[in-house]
Each structure stands twice: as C-alpha cells, then as structure tokens.
Symmetry: C2
Subunit: 343 residues, 2 copies
C-alpha cells in the first residue's frame, strides 16, 4: 500500500507550499489560475484525497450528523432515515445511525458518544421516557438538536412531527361517516405524546359528532399483533358491542382483524377497523386495512432540512421551529361499508 498523499507531498512535487495547495484545492480566490491548474492536475495525478478528519479537526465541523431512533429495522424509521440521508448526503453530510432500543439510558449513552465524535447535529426520535440531561448536553454545546416523530418539550429544540391528533380525528370521523356509532380505540403508551394525541383526536371526533364517549371502549395495548388480539377479545364481549375499532397502531389493528374473523364476524359489515402508520402489510392484505399515512420519508427530509437551516444560521439566537406534517387517511376495505373500492 502506498502511503496516502497529503498536500505536503503535492506541494513538494510542485516546489510550492502546502498553503498554496490548500488554497488551490479549496477554490480560494487568492490564487492564480495557472498554479491552481497545476495543483489540481498534480493532485489528480498523485491520487490525492482530502482527509476530512484533519479538516474537521481544524474547522470544528465534522460533516457528520447523528440520528438516534428506537430501532432501525422498522418500516417507519427506515423510511425516515432514508429521507434524512437523501437530503443530507448531497450537502456533504454523513449520517451516523444509533439505536436506543427504547431505553433512555442507552439513548443517553449514544448521545454522549455522538458528541465525542463531534457530530454537527443530532436528530432524535425519543424513547417513551427520555431523560433530558443528555439532550441538554447537546444544546449546551450549541449543536442543533432536532426531534422527529417523537418529541420532548424542550425550549430551543425544533421538531418535525405529524399531527397525530388530526390523524386520529380523521380516522375516527371517517368511521362515523361510514355509519359507525360505537367506536372503540386501541391506544398506545401514554407516556409518548403521539399516543396521547391520537387518543385525544379520537375522543374529540366522537364528541364533535355528538356520540357518547365510552371509557370501556379504550384499551391500552402495545403496538403488536398479540396485544391487539387480546384487547379485541375483551371488546367483543362488551354489551353493546363496538361496531368499529380505531387502533393507534397497524399491528394491533391486524390482531383485531384476526380476532374479529376468528369469531366469525364480518369486516367491515359487523365491525370496521382502521389502523395507524400505513405499514406496508396493510396494503397487501386480502382485506386491505384502512390506516393513517405518516409520510415518514417526507418527515426525514424535513427534519434534515430543519437541521441544515439551523446549522447555517450563523447567529447564536436559538431558533425553535415546529413543523407539523399533515397525516393522510387511506381508506381501504377494512372500513368501507358504503361502496366497494376498485383495487
């Protein structure tokens, strides 16, 4: 392996100084076209490649941003990350991925190692009970911190989320429009704002429609199939029995559907179901599931854009920007009584 060539090597070869080489390479105006050409040519010839590390140390800018998500192997976060990467890479930034595994302690650790690594920004989707201290350490260093999807109430931190209230409202309203009057709700962990909001949207839609709100019809579940099944078992024993289920998660909705069918009830005739997240499988089912799309890809791009803005903002005034994306209701056969969709 040939040792890597530095600007000194090419300076020596051209009998000029390293500073000049640097200038040529960085399109510094204070340099003659001829020497610039010379340097560029020689650089190419010698297979010169800039050591970003040295540049980073010197400039204090690493061109790395850290992204912390609970997990990367989920459709939602995968898509968000794709959006982030797609937006940041053309700007010369690299994306460092970290997983918190929903654990606040791990999250804190990852934040610290990212900080050590001198990242230029941190984008995070928080865990259900993130500690603020590590997050504050980011701010203390004047490094842009952006929340996406799951935020925490912190001054000076921008966030990109969807309007979970609105999404839930739309879903519930849709069920009401389809003639449902006894709408149950599979809710999530209330320590996460997103689930509180979805619950509120659900409740508000019911109240706005003049329907009675029934505590018994709200069941907390984890976002998985088995919890959806269990909760639905409970719901189906109720009297009167709900005629619709709005689930705050697609996976729980899937469980609901399976349980409903196991009990030989018809969807959507007997019970309509709407999920949340637009997981890929909801579209592929034989009975496609109505759901709320969170546009994760756009969320990622938007989070990246907000970071870039913040990053380029020279002034030391902390700006706090809240971007709220509009969720989209996707109506499929699991909730469509009034007409049949053509696939």
């Amino acid at each position: 392996m040939s040792k890597k060539t530095t600007i000194y090597d090419i300076a020596k070869a051209l009998d000029i100084t390293a500073a000049t080489v640097s200038r040529a390479l960085n399109n510094n105006p204070k340099i003659s076209d001829t020497t610039r050409e010379l340097v560029l040519q020689k650089a190419a010839e010698m297979n010169y490649e800039q050591n970003k590390l040295a540049q980073a140390l010197k400039s204090g800018k690493s061109y790395n941003v850290g992204v912390i998500v609970p997990r990367v192997d989920s459709n939602f976060f995968g898509s968000v990350i794709r959006g982030i990467e797609e937006e940041l890479n053309p700007q010369g930034y690299h994306v460092i991925i970290c997983q918190s595994y929903e654990d606040p302690k791990t999250e804190g650790k990852k934040i610290d190692t990212l900080l050590n690594a001198q990242v230029d920004g941190v984008l995070v989707s928080t865990t259900s009970n993130s500690k603020k201290e590590p997050l504050k350490r980011i701010l203390a260093k004047n490094i842009p911190l952006i929340f996406f999807d799951r935020r925490k109430d912190m001054q000076g931190v921008s966030s990109v989320v969807i309007n979970d209230f609105e999404g839930a409202y739309k879903a519930t309203k849709h069920l009401i429009d389809e003639g449902c009057t006894k709408i149950a709700h599979l809710s999530g962990n209330f320590s996460l704002e997103i689930f509180r909001e979805r619950f509120s949207g659900y409740k508000q839609a019911i109240i706005d429609a003049g329907l009675p709100f029934n505590e018994d019809w709200v069941i907390k579940t984890k976002s998985n199939r088995t919890d959806g099944i269990e909760a639905t078992k409970t719901l189906l024993q109720l009297n009167p029995r709900p005629d619709a289920i709005f689930s705050a998660s697609d996976f729980a909705a899937l469980g609901a559907i399976q349980e409903i069918r196991a009990q030989k009830l018809n969807i959507p005739q007997d019970i309509s179901v709407v999920g949340f997240s637009n997981e890929p499988f909801t579209k592929f089912m034989e009975l496609p599931i109505s759901t709320i799309d969170q546009s994760p890809f756009e969320m990622g791009k938007m989070a990246a854009k907000v970071f870039l803005e913040q990053s380029n903002n020279e002034s030391h005034v902390k700006m706090e920007k809240k971007v709220v994306l509009d969720p989209q209701l996707i109506i499929r056969n699991s909730s469509l009584k009034t007409q049949v969709l053509t696939p």
Copy 2:
C-alpha cells in the same frame, strides 16, 4: 456556551502537563495511581470529553465504519443494519449509512466519500453491476472491505451471504414433496449472483427429483407485486398449467397469489406458492406465504464480526473469509397441502 475543555485545560488546573493527563485518561501504565486519580477526578469535574476527531487524526483510526446498501427502507437491509450496529457499537464503532439506490455510479461516489472520511472499514451489499474500481480503492488503502448478501468476486474480500442455492433448493424440494410436479419459477435479475443461485437451486431440485425442467416456466421479474402479477398471467395461460410457483422474491409471490385468486384458483390446492425473504407481510396474510428466511439480523452481526476480526488482524496478510449462512424454509399455508398448520 462554555468552550469545550481539553486535556490542556485540565493539565493547567492541576499544574501538570497535557501528556500526563493523556496518559492518565488512557490507562497508560507509566503513571502513578495518585495522579491518575487526580486527573480522572478533575476531568469529571470539568466535564471533560475526549475529542475523538483529534484522536482519530493522531491514531489514524476513526472508529467509523461505512455501510452501503441499495436502500435502507427495506425490512431486509434494515435488519442487517440493526445487526451491524448492535455488534459494532459496543466495540466503540459508529456506523455511517449510505444508500446506493442500486446505482453503481452512486455507489462509487459513496465509497470515495467514506474513504475521505477515513472510515476504518466498509461493509457493502453491492448493486447489480457494481464497478470494481471504487471497491479496489478501498483495498488499496488496506481498509477491510466486507460484502454481505450481494457479493462480487474479488480477491481478498470477505463476504457474508446466505446459501441462496440451498434456499431455492429447499423451497423447490418442499413443493415437490407436497406433490407438485410442474413448478414454475419467478426469477430475478441475473446480473445479481443471488438470483442466479436461486435459479440454479430451483433447477437442481427439479432435476434431482427426476422431473422435467421446462424453460417456459421460468420468468424473469423484478421484485415487486405488479411484475409478479404479470408473470403469473403468462404462467396461468400455459398448457399444461404449472401447479406451483417458486418466486425468488416475496413481493412477486404476493402478486402471483393475487393473480391466482383473481382467476378463482385455489391456493395451495390448485397452485402452491413459495416466496423468498420472509418479508414481514408474508406472515400476516390471511393466507400466510411460505418463504425462505435469510436471517438478516444474523447476517449483519456476522458481517460486523468479520470486520472486527479483519480489523484486529495486525498482520498485513490479506485474509479472505467466506461465511455462508444457512437459509431456513418457513412452511406456511400457501404451500401446505398435506396437513393444516395450527397458527
């Protein structure tokens, strides 16, 4: 914001020299326990945090590894990345994610920027026609290069893949065991080794069973639903009609199933279907799809382990390690004629 504290700051505070501080912080044996304690305490007190960038520049080790995948928003690659991250993070490495979008040119660019960023290793799942030059540039720098899932034939490069031949063979054999004799194959892009291997495995299983191999029953498709539908339309017009379809992709298998049902044929009675990849949706379908699991998580962990080995290998002997994971056949109702599975 207080300026970040360096080893000089803490040296000054203790009236010793930076070198000593560095030694204390790095558990260098040549230092007295007392001063070490003193330094550690002061460091904590002053909120000292090591600047990995400076360390990286000095040591030549960035503790960053680059991972290049066609896309990050797929279950398979998401899981692989999770495995990689899970294995590498405890060792102090950060994972930088790049997407090639299946484009060899983009792939080359990402490789170069990763190289500039001084990554300590590159793990890549190649595109269908990756150029070797950028990949060689990695090797030329003596940086470990590991292929996973999609490899390229290159000397001195380790790889972690599954045995695609075996997977396809198992799937086809299973269909034969179930009594199918006219087995069609939805194949993928032959410029990717994985699809060539799957085809070979399919063909071999048929030959080994003494069944006739029929060219017409092999159709090239992209890994998506619509291509699966189109190909299946063609297959169903054939005479004799195939009684099974082994698809090299779950998405194409899904399309096949939808088309078969659209034509009022029964699965698996009339036609059995087996996919490939164990995408999450295959399990959730009302008619769960038999498929081949590629254990992406293990693949990621293994790729990371191979990197670590290679990285710690002091000798300049290039080692080439090939890890081949065993694919697992997952039998579900789309191909199970002989008995009914309890879910």
